[in-house]
Symmetry: C2
Subunit: 243 residues, 2 copies
DNA sequence: CGTGAGATTGACTATATTCAACCCTAGTGG
DNA sequence: CCACTAGGGTTGAATATAGTCAATCTCACG
């Protein structure tokens, strides 16, 4: 489904109903959220929030992909998070974010005004609990990424990145052939992995030459040899035989 | 104060009373925690929790320093968090940790059995809210560290590390000369910064040669030129003039 | 005072970056 | 319908930065 096809839906039919911040809500709670929400679309490349900008809305990502990134004075940038459908933007008790939030694909947000939402969080343990879980999931993801950034080789970084996309594709139950669409340009992938875009390109083509993946077009990847890919991530010695 | 001198205290007199998970608790809530808590000491180098081990206790770090680290099959390790006094170990809804928790100095924990504590969290919004804040603080710290790991040079990493220690020393109100004690060995610092211990050593001595810091003994550092140190972190162009 | 873990230093190497040229290809307008 | 163009991607050569391996030093401790 293309993002531009998206139209507002009732919460009960929302594709992220069971995973977003509203996951634990019962009917009454959902009705309140329903009355508060507004949808907003963004085009690929558009900045959703600038670092330091006051945070008037919080939101759930309905579909599409967004990135969180930090930039140094001299222009070096590092992506510090990747937001996928059901992920949450904004946090209780903070009035601004200290990174940029950018749409890497077309995307749709389900937004709530921050102030009323914060009031709702206090009154609704189901939402507070789910927010806590989401924050802890992000923390786990950040820590895995720290290991990647600090200790993995370029090859392992690329393999880990592709494997992550593959896992997600399999988990989301869609076609279980391993054809993936890259949600980012080489440059953005480089910023995510702490590499340069040239190194990203070289490693993609090295894996292709070895027959681990195949590439076609700019954003299509197919995983040809999942076992070899797993081995190349450096994460485990058995190439993921247990999964 | 040496850790070994620490003896159990009443919560009201606890050094981390206003920053730990109990920060928002009123007298009644504090009385409940008081009745549940037990103190436990660890020696420097001792492992507090192994990755994957079942989590029977959660705890606040009363004093000393602990580290969270992940290790790859081939032995490469990356520290993914540094725990300072008032930081919390363990999390609601998870029965194990997926990193090792190690004491880098002598330290004292204020422990609670996990099950009763989780029950208390549900019944006590003051604790749940504080846990959320602590989790978000950790998330911010992790993201800053991702920028460091992914994009900073060895020199910038070392300067950032020393600056962080200096900030903390100033903040904790202790003597405002900039003499610091390193809470870790070169090897541990290397694991924190995504470097090798040789590179850590070389960069420390380069900064010393340039007169930015001075070193004496194994763990004593003095910041001689804070402005130069700030500049060397790469974080801002003005060397921190506004602070 | 001796010992050993931790730290330093040096020489060499490897990996990824930098700089530069060139190549696709999707989208545009003639 | 085709040629043009620009943004993204690839490839190569030279370089730089941090890693590796190895020898030596030094401090803190018994």
């Amino acid at each position: 489904m293309k993002n531009s096809d998206f139209v507002a839906v009732r919460c009960e039919e929302c594709p992220i109903r069971h995973r977003a911040v509203c996951a634990r809500c019962d009917g009454d709670e959902l009705a309140i959220l329903e009355s508060m929400k507004t949808y907003k679309q963004y085009a690929a490349g558009e900045t959703i929030l600038w670092r330091g900008e006051p945070l008037d809305y919080v939101a759930s990502l309905v579909h599409g992909v967004a990135s969180l990134s930090k930039t140094m004075e001299d222009g070096r940038t590092q992506m510090v998070g990747l937001l996928l459908p059901s992920d949450f933007i904004g946090r209780p008790g903070r009035t601004e974010v200290e990174f940029d939030v950018v749409a890497t694909t077309e995307l749709t947000l389900c937004r709530f005004e921050r102030k009323p939402f914060e009031k709702l969080v206090v009154e609704t343990p189901h939402i507070a609990q789910r927010l806590m879980e989401l924050a802890l999931d992000e923390l786990d993801a950040a820590r895995d990424w720290m290991l990647l950034l600090g200790r993995k080789t370029a090859r392992e970084k690329i393999a880990t990145f592709i494997d992550m996309l593959a896992q997600r594709s399999l988990a989301s139950g869609s076609a279980n052939d391993l054809k993936l669409e890259l949600p980012m340009t080489r440059d953005q992938i480089a910023n995510y992995l702490g590499l340069t875009l040239e190194t990203v390109s070289r490693q993609f083509n090295a894996l292709k030459k070895e027959g681990v993946i195949s590439l076609s077009g700019r954003k299509e990847i197919e995983v040809v040899d999942l076992l070899a890919l797993r081995t190349a991530t450096g994460d485990d010695s058995d190439g993921g035989m247990l999964s």
